[in-house]
Structures are given as C-alpha cells and as structure tokens.
Subunit: 372 residues, 3 copies
C-alpha cells in the first residue's frame, strides 16, 4: 500500500499543520528505514537514531525532544499506533479464486470470495465461510467447517469433522484433528482406542507453524475464542483451553487437561494429563505441571511450584555445596565439644553422636562426588 | 455404520431377553449421547449420569445398579468392550483408487485396492502393499516399501529406501528418512557426513503428527513391531527402538541410542546419544537420560535417576531454605558452647570453629540471595 | 555410483601395488557390508570385525594389524576419509526439470538446471539459482529468493520475501517465514502485531525436518553462514544466529535473542527472548537460558549456569536427604550439650537453641515428606 502523509493524517483524524504530499510506502525500524518509511521511537534515548534515520515520518511520545529536519508525529502511545498503522501495510494479495489444480469435492460448500490454492484437496461436505483463504497444498477432510475470513496457510491438514470459527489463522504445517494418542495393553500388544471425537476451534484463534491439535477420543478438544498458539505446540485429545490464553512455542498439554481463560503457558512447558489450570495462571518456561494450578497463580520449575518458592529453592541450591562442608565442620566441632565436656566430667551421652552409617557427609564422600 | 441392538447382541454372541430393533448409529459420552448412541459407565458413581443420558444402550459393570427406563448391558469390562465396539464405528471411506491428480512413477508397484490421494507423488521402484492408503499431498521416495493395510496420512514424507511393515499408521506431517544430523568440523566449516543408511519400521507401528524418524548414517534406524509414537517426537539416526514401546509427545531420542521392548517414554523426555535403555524401563515426563537405564527401572528428572531418589531429593529441596537458616543458628549455638566451655576451663580447640571464608552460610548471604 | 578399486586409488592420488579391478558399489559398516562395499575400522579393536567382514576394501589407521585375505588401505584418518569417499556415493538423481504438475508463476525467475517437483507452487517474482532442486509439494511465496545449488526437500514452505544463500539444504516440512508470535492485549483481546520483516538464511545452512524459522516483526531474522539446525527446532522472530553454529533437535530460541558464531545448542534447550549468547558458548541438553552467556562458556541446567557449578549442585543434591537427617541429629546433640553444660554451671544461653517454628527439620517432617 502507498499513502501520502496527508492521507495518513486524515485516516487518523489529525490535522497536518504544513501540507505534505510525501508518500509512505511501508514501515520499518529507524536503522533500516528508507525515505518512504514510517517509524517509531520508544523514548528519548532514541533521539540520535531518529536524527540519523532516513524515515519519512516518525511516531514519538508527547515529550520527545525536537529533531531538526525530521517530521515527528507526537502521540500518546507511539508503539501501539505504529503497529495499528503497520496493519494497513500487511501485504494482502487479491483473491485468486479456486486454483484449477485444486481438488474440491462436488458436495463441498464454499462461500463467496473463498480462495483455494494449487494442490489443495477439499473433501466431501466441507464448508468454508466467505472470504477465507486456503493455502497451497493444504487438505480439508470430510465434514470440516471453516468460518469466514480465516487464513489457512500452506501445507496445513484439517481432518474430518473439525470446525473452525471466524477469523482464525493457521500457519503452515498445522495439523488439526489427528488421532488422540490412546492405546490399551491387551497382554500382547497395544490395542488402539478409536478416536471418534472432534476438534472445535473458536473465533479469532491463531496457531503457529507445525503445531498439532488432536481430536478427542469421544466428545471435543476445544480451543477457546481469541487464544493464540505458537509454533510446534502439542494439544492432546480432549483438552479444553479457555478464551484468550497464550501457549508459547514447543509447549505441550496432555490428554483431558483443562486450561482456563487468560492462561499464559511459556515455551517448552509440559502440562500433564487430567490437570486443571485456573484462569489467569502463568506457567514459566520449561515448567512441568503435574497437579492443578489455582487461578491467578504463577508457577515455575519441574514439578511446577509457585514462582517465589521455586526461586527460593533455586537460590538455596546454589549454597548447598558449601553447606555440606559447613555441616561436616560442625560435626567435628560437636565431636570435640563432646570429648571436652566428657573430660570435664559431663558423663556419657544418651545416644552416640558420631555419624551413623547413613551419613553421606564425610570428607571422603565430599571429594568423591564433587567435580572440580 | 448402523446396527440394531439385536444385531449388536448377535455380534457379541449375547442373548437379548426382550427383542429390540432400535438402531445404534454411533458411540458417545453419557453427557453428549443422542438417542441412537451407545455409551458406557465406569462405575456406580455414574448412575445419575446414566439416568439422565439419552443413550440407547449403556455398557455397565456387573454390579451396576438398575436404572429405570434405561437399557443396560452388564459385562465384565464395560470400558474395554465399549472401545472394541467403537472400532466398528470408525468411519472408513471406500477406497477411491488412484486419484488422477497423483503422480505415480511407472516403475512403482502398487498392490490391490491401494488408494492414492490427490497430489501424491510416488517415485521410482516404490512398492505399496494391498489395501494401503496414501493421503493427499504425501510423498514416497525412490525404493520406498510400504506393507499391506497401512494408513499413510496426508502431507507425509517417506524418503528413499525407507520400509514400513504391515498395518502401520502415519499421521499427517510425519517425516521418515530425513538425513541424520551428522557433521564434522574441518577447521573452517562443518562438513556434512553423508547419511547413507535407511529407516525400517516394523509391523503395527503408529506415529503421530509431525514426528520425525531420521535415516541411519550407515545401517538402519529401526522402530520395533507394535511401538506407538505420539506427535512431534524426534528419533535420530541409528536409533533402535524395541517392540511395543511408547514414546509420548515431544520426546526425543538422540543418535545411536537403543531402547528395549516395552519401554515407556513420557512427554518431553530427552534421551542422549549412545545410551541404552533396558526392556520395560519407564522414563518420567521431561526427564533427561544421560546414561544407561537398566531394564524395568523407572527414572525421573534431569539427569534422570530412579524415581524414589528423585522424589526424595525433590522433597528435600523444598526444605533446603529452612535448613540453611537452621545450620546458621546451629553455628551460633556451637560458637556459644565453645565460648562457655572455654570459660569453664576447657582450653583451646585443636582447630578453629569459626566459619571459614568458604562458608556461604552467613546472615548477610541469607538475606542477599533470597527473593522474598 | 560404481568405481573400480583402481579408479578409487587414482582419485585419491594413491598408487595401487597390485592391480585390482574389483568394483566398489557402495559404503557400509563392517557388519553389514557386502562383497562390493567399502568400509572403515576405527582402531585395532575392530580387527576381528574386519576379518569376518565381506567388505571389498577397508580403510584403516597406519598401525592397524595386517588381516590375512583382506585388502586394507592404510591412511592417517580412516573415518574422515571414509566419509569423504562416502559423499561420492550419495544418490543424486538426474534433474527432471520442471514437473508438469508444478505451478510456477510466470514472473518467477528460474536459473539453469533447476528441478521443480510435482505439486510445487512458486509464486510471483520468486527467484531460484541454478542447480537448485525444489521437492514435491513445496511452496515458495512471492518474492522468495533461493541461491544456487540448494536442496529444498519435499513439503517445505518458504513464505514471502525470505531469502536463502547458496548450497542451503532444507529437509522435509521446514517452515521458513511464518509470522513471529507477537500480540498486544488491548483490554479485551490479544491484538495481532503485524509481522512485516523477513528471514535471511546465509550460504551453506542446513535445517532439519519440521523446523521453523519465523519472520521478523520488523527487520530480519538471520541464520548465519554454515550454521546447521536439526529437526523440530524453533527459531523465533528477530533472532540472529552467527556463522557455524549448531542447534540440536527440539531446541528453541525465543524472540530477539542473539547467538554468536560457533555456538553449540544441545537438544531441547530453551533460550529466552532478548538474550545474548557469546561466540563459542556451549549449552547443555534441556538447559533453560534466561540471561546472557559469555563467549566460550559452557552452561547446563535450568536456569542455565556454568557446567561445573551445575554438576556440583547436582552432586550435592544427591546428598541432601542424608544431610537433613544429619542436621537433625546435630540439633539433638547441641541440645544435649547445652543441657549438660547447664548442669555443669554454664548458665543460660543468650538465645534459645531449640528449633524455631520456621524449622522444617524435625523428625515428624522427615518421615512425612519422604517417599520410601
């Protein structure tokens, strides 16, 4: 898209003091901007970067210093406004309609302005809402329903009976509706438990490259409205995720677990099966959740525990090697005190004070298990 | 599939006391069942759910209470029988044969009743056993062999010379036969070690969405008979996995490691290279296996260690912050005892008892490293 | 490829004492070799394996013992030379040109000898260098640039404006240029931050199956020259990775982090966002990097810390359960010493020595939290 500075001010309902017909062709960082780019500065520390940038226009905060020779637009939240405007510049190719190299089943029902890429296969009774786009090489199984204005990337698989709401975005390689991982040992082999449920993805969900959402054994695996899922994430059978949650890359949720609304799951987190995570809980990177997490609680570590506790234990662990040595010295001191007290006539103790055979804290062990 | 209750009893070799021609159209949960669904109840705690369910027929245990107005079928293992019957209802579309938009090399050899989806590419000398189905958009490289009655999902890649046994199931996005990750630093760059081996997958193996099994550098990467692999799992070059093992989602096995039969690898486990895991070993979620695991042993944690030990250490760690404080107080007590004993005429100790500079256990340090 | 032993010696500029026209058809392990295979032995411990191997020719070290009836070729580094020769035997099919079932946009620019597989889609203004091969079912978006002699596997997605250097290898299912994971909570929903940057992959980079490299929000996500990435790895938006680094399977690098040259990232490592990892740093398996790592340092654990420290803490943790018991016994000893000293007339202590309510180290707690 191309837009004059005048037109940009008009769209923002702002008055432009000095007329300016220079054109904006895109958005960029201050460092990489060309003379037709819009940029923003976080704060006054970037004043030099603004001065040396080639940008046509820079969004800045209201107290940003003046920069000679630069057109600045002062606003309350330059970063947020920048990304609002940036959305105007996202390249959106015109719909190409149904590619001749796509295979669309005659019983499939495609809405208006649906785009279907080359090599796409759409099976019987699938329904696609108006304005949705299906990327090249993707597969939509029998009975799949895709809402309106969805963007299904290339090489995506959506298996039978899965349903997506409106405005969902699936990035390349996403797999929706694969079989849940369920087997039963019959004494000689793992027998497959048939996976007869389905996947429901509500409105405004986004799912990153190569992530997987398995169908339910019976019933439904559900991703709530507005939830955003990063790349390479695993969502197992019968999981329910509430609205507006976040799952960062390479995290996984095992079978039948339930996440509330507004949950934040950081990267490489594992959530065990049949666990409940309350609304607004936050789970730190690489945590292993093995039991329920109450609403609003932040956890960390494996097994996952409240962040304060995990950090306290982590800090204490750093001091453990020195503690082992100190306790050993204390043992020696106690032994000496005992002996001296006996010399003074204190009599024999009711229980021997020497380390028992259970003790691992002895000088030999110390040097034997340490690594430096 | 549709089946009258009479026909269902007949197939199970059971007598139906009162004739019933009502039809079963599918299986479901008690909560979601319609009037033509078969359900099951785990135990008597679900009696109310049975009473309020619309299900046509409910499998229950032999001591399940009577429920007025409901047709119950009493059996020894209702859950297991339910999933046996459920298998009858798995939708199996009729074979569509070779899709005209597939590219099958003239030297490829396809058995009877093979189905090949749209956009599939089958390269030279590939062989596919009778009754197997290849999903849309999948690729089978030169010399690939697929046994009989396999289900290869959509968007799957099976590279040159890989072989699959009978009745294997590969879910969408599986990659078989990618190059092993092998490089050699030559002083200026990582030189590629050519990957000339292959992958052998035995009968009845199932592999989940977007999982990867790399070809051997030389020789064979092998997945044993009946082993089941979940989504997003990594199996590296020259790995050998025995029969009837289980690898849960996002776990990974590094190069040249060997797993025995009946091994269970939980989610997000990492197994290092050149490690041997014995038959029947069980590896807990997120564990990091860096050395051999004997047969039958259950391990947990990073580095992986016997579960009892790991849990004991984990429980002890919870108490470590308080322990640090207690040892500090004991130090003060010992110092006081020393002083008082000296006052009593006990003489000087053979070794100073004051903490050495190695000690990190001092009040200042305590408050300095804690986080709350 | 087939090569006589004479021709093989000629290519290595070696003289063959006794003429030998036997042919080498391939390379293999000593155990699996047929009579026309080349093998190598690591050291003299494999002398028996050499004797019983059917191999036509075995590369051995200069001091390897003679083996009657076997043709040995003595060289300084048998393993390295073996893999050099093995490269000659990597099967390279002749270029098939542009498959008729590919969809190549008329504005795309393909160099000489480019191969494009069936079902491939190449969008507007894409450029592909001479000698590159694009596997079946792959997608190259608008404006994508691929250098010369690249191998793009099957079912790969390279999205708009991404660029690859020369001799890059992408294995099946790789996703380049997916949107970075960026959202902004506006009080009612996660608003998408548009992802307008791109991905630059320099020369000689190799990326394993189903790995993902996201485009930058603004600017560039960059993978440096000669870097090798394994399967199922995540590289987030705006990450920069230096030359000749290694990322092992299932590792992940979060947004805006920077890795230097020659960094080694082991399997299942997580690197947080906005972190800097110095040249030559080595990060152990499953580590969680949450702050900068200086050049050349080896780290391990979550949170990642120097390997020596992590191992020392890990070894100390093993001894913690026994330490808890020992400290408890010491407490009893101190209490007894106090009492006996008081009996001797030492008077009262300035501070009570009994454990305070903060102490978790008491006999009841010990037995209550242990698991065996």
């Amino acid at each position: 898209m191309t837009l004059s500075i005048q037109a940009l001010y008009d769209r923002l309902h702002l008055a432009l003091a000095v007329p300016d017909d220079a054109e904006i062709h895109g958005v960029s960082t201050l460092e990489q901007a060309g003379s037709r780019d819009l940029c923003f500065a976080e704060d006054a520390s970037q004043a030099d970067a603004v001065a040396s940038s080639a940008a046509a226009l820079v969004l800045v905060g209201e107290t940003f210093p003046e920069v000679v020779g630069k057109r600045l637009l002062r606003v309350a939240e330059p970063r947020n406004l920048f990304f609002e405007i940036a959305l105007w510049f996202v390249p959106v190719a015109e719909s190409q309609g149904i590619h001749p190299a796509a295979s669309v089943h005659p019983t499939a029902d495609l809405g208006e302005d649906v785009e279907v890429g080359a090599g796409v296969v759409i099976d019987a009774d699938a329904r696609i809402g108006s304005g949705s786009r299906i990327g090249a090489g993707s597969y939509l199984g029998a009975g799949v329903e895709v809402g309106a204005d969805c963007l299904i990337g290339v090489n995506v698989s959506i298996l039978r009976d899965s349903t997506l709401g409106d405005r969902c975005v699936l990035h390349p390689g996403v797999r929706i509706g694969g079989d849940g991982f369920g087997f039963r040992w019959d004494g000689t082999a793992h027998r497959k438990i048939p996976q007869l449920g389905r996947v429901v993805i509500e409105d405004d969900v986004e799912i990153g490259c190569n992530s997987c959402v398995d169908r339910a054994t019976l019933g439904t695996t559900r991703i709530g409205r507005g939830t955003k899922i990063d790349n390479l994430v695993q969502v197992a059978h019968n999981v329910g995720i509430g609205a507006h949650s976040i799952l960062v890359s390479q995290s996984g949720v095992a079978g039948s677990s339930t996440l509330g609304q507004g949950v934040v799951v950081a990267g490489q987190v594992a959530i065990s099966d049949h666990v409940t995570v309350g609304d607004g809980a936050r789970i730190g990177g690489q945590a292993g959740v093995v039991k329920d997490i109450p609403a609003g609680v932040a956890v960390f570590g494996t097994p996952a525990r409240p962040v304060k506790q995990a950090l306290r234990e982590s800090a204490a662990l750093v001091r453990l090697p020195a503690l082992l040595k100190q306790v050993e010295r204390q043992q020696q001191a106690i032994d000496r005190l005992e002996r001296r007290l006996a010399d003074l006539g204190g009599g024999s103790s009711s229980r021997p004070l020497a380390p028992s055979s259970e003790d691992v804290v002895s000088p030999g062990t110390v040097s034997g298990t340490e690594t430096d």
